[in-house]
């Protein structure tokens, strides 16, 4: 029968977590402090529960910086900060609230963000399970081959993802061409195709006639066709040498491009690895040009 002293313990906070407090104060923090804040949130709350010096080293800042930030957040000192972190952890474990069916805390599990993210995660899982690594590697090898020209083709919506691939490939290697199948000019590009060239085609639901025609002509010219499509597969797949299908269903009137984008980014990364020595030179040159145009900001 120990004196139950709750009542006061309900004051156990304004229901605002320290993570949120950090998040909210981010604007008032300085550079080094933000760097530290990121490190804390990176693996929260574990890193904040260790010694001050360890946290400082992990974040790449110095001890006093840690202290200053902690005080800015309204704590008396580092020990005070740690105490509240532990309290928070204690409460969190105590509430057996169905955790991870919500991705963003503080939103009902039926919130768009949670429903949407659930679907996307499922899509990624399913899509990847169906992809043959050998096919992926083969596609990357084709794209990385400097002797082949690369044509990238997208449709009304998917051309945005196609352009994303194009913009990166353009930096990595020469002879990359972005073809707008929505425009009337695409036949001109087919003129330049020759046997062995590679055509990367994006075609998802509401498959477009232009895209199919372009693919047929390219196929006839002996070009290799790599197709990124959805789970129902565009008619282009009959002509394609390599085909990747992504699940794209989400709780929305439209389809998701997340999985195709993930594939594209993985490809970029893989191709860049293959061509790294060349790519590095091209990137340095590009940097120099950017410097001259003053297009980007120089600091952080």
């Amino acid at each position: 029968m120990k004196a139950i002293k709750m009542g006061v313990s309900t004051l156990s906070q304004q229901a605002i977590t320290i993570a949120e407090r950090i998040q909210r104060a981010l604007d008032t923090l300085t550079r080094a402090e933000r760097q530290l804040a990121q490190a804390i949130l990176e693996n929260y709350p574990a890193s904040g529960l260790g010694p001050l010096s360890a946290l400082a080293k992990d974040a790449g800042v110095s001890g006093p910086t840690v202290l200053r930030m902690v005080q800015k957040l309204g704590f008396k000192g580092y020990p005070d900060f740690q105490t509240e972190l532990r309290e928070e952890l204690r409460d969190k474990v105590k509430n057996p609230i169905s955790k991870h069916d919500t991705w963003t805390e503080g939103a009902p599990s039926g919130h768009v963000l949670n429903r949407f993210t659930d679907a996307v995660m499922e899509n990624i899982r399913h899509s990847l399970a169906q992809i043959e690594p050998a096919a992926f590697d083969a596609a990357c090898a084709l794209i990385a081959d400097p002797k082949r020209k690369i044509f990238i083709v997208g449709g009304r919506i998917s051309h945005t993802i196609a352009e994303y691939l194009f913009l990166h490939m353009q930096v990595i290697r020469p002879d990359v061409i972005h073809v707008q199948s929505t425009s009337n000019t695409w036949p001109h590009y087919v003129l330049d195709m020759k046997e062995g060239d590679v055509v990367v085609v994006f075609d998802v639901r509401r498959y477009e006639n232009n895209t199919l025609k372009l693919s047929e002509l390219a196929h006839a010219k002996g070009a290799k066709i790599i197709l990124l499509t959805d789970q129902w597969r565009s008619p282009v797949h009959a002509l394609s040498d390599i085909c990747f299908s992504s699940r794209i269903v989400v709780p929305s009137a439209w389809d998701s491009a997340v999985m195709p984008l993930l594939l594209v980014e993985s490809m970029i990364s893989a191709v860049q690895d293959i061509l790294w020595t060349d790519t590095r030179d091209r990137m340095e040159t590009l940097e120099a040009i950017f410097d001259q145009t003053k297009m980007f900001r120089k600091f952080t």
Copy 2:
């Protein structure tokens, strides 16, 4: 009868939590030590992460007892015990996702696809944890307001994602404008901005001067600014009314746009829900137009 101990005990390093280790050792502990063990397990792991003296007082035992038990469990000292507790906590929060250690079967876990997907999943998890649902809802409400014009602005790479948002918004509601900050024509668009209009700005690493200038002018005109940026946050965030930051680090020389895209798609879905009756009409009209242009295939 405390014979059995070594031999297998080397495996005690991995995959066995400290809680389990305590449970298992419960028999070999003395009365005061068991009392302490219960207190630790009572609210685990929070209580073990505080100072030794606090734990001792909480359990009703004295300092040295804590130390002796901890050493019995095989730790060098109390700090060592705490360090492993923190490691465990770190792994615990990391794991709910990466329980799949390979995503695509048949590829080594070191394959690009697996490494990349791991990183992306982590990004999604971290980013969403930092997003305030209220801010998201507020942003969607702004975009869904038919009385406000919507300007969508992207940079050299991010304009692809910006355009993705634009293409969908264009279907959902009128008065949506896509501004190319890479082009010289953007000042013309600023001319048309008026107080209450909404500017959706995409700005990730290699923050662009044009994007910042455009935002400053828009801000001066009294437009609401919704910013989608990375974890380091574009300088535009100082002007923004609502800011979403996504983790974008992947094993590649470039950054990932998956998380920003996920946010964009969620927004599209949410806005479409708000405006559904209007959207449906617009979509039907659009379908009719498409039919006449014969742009899409009629089947599947």
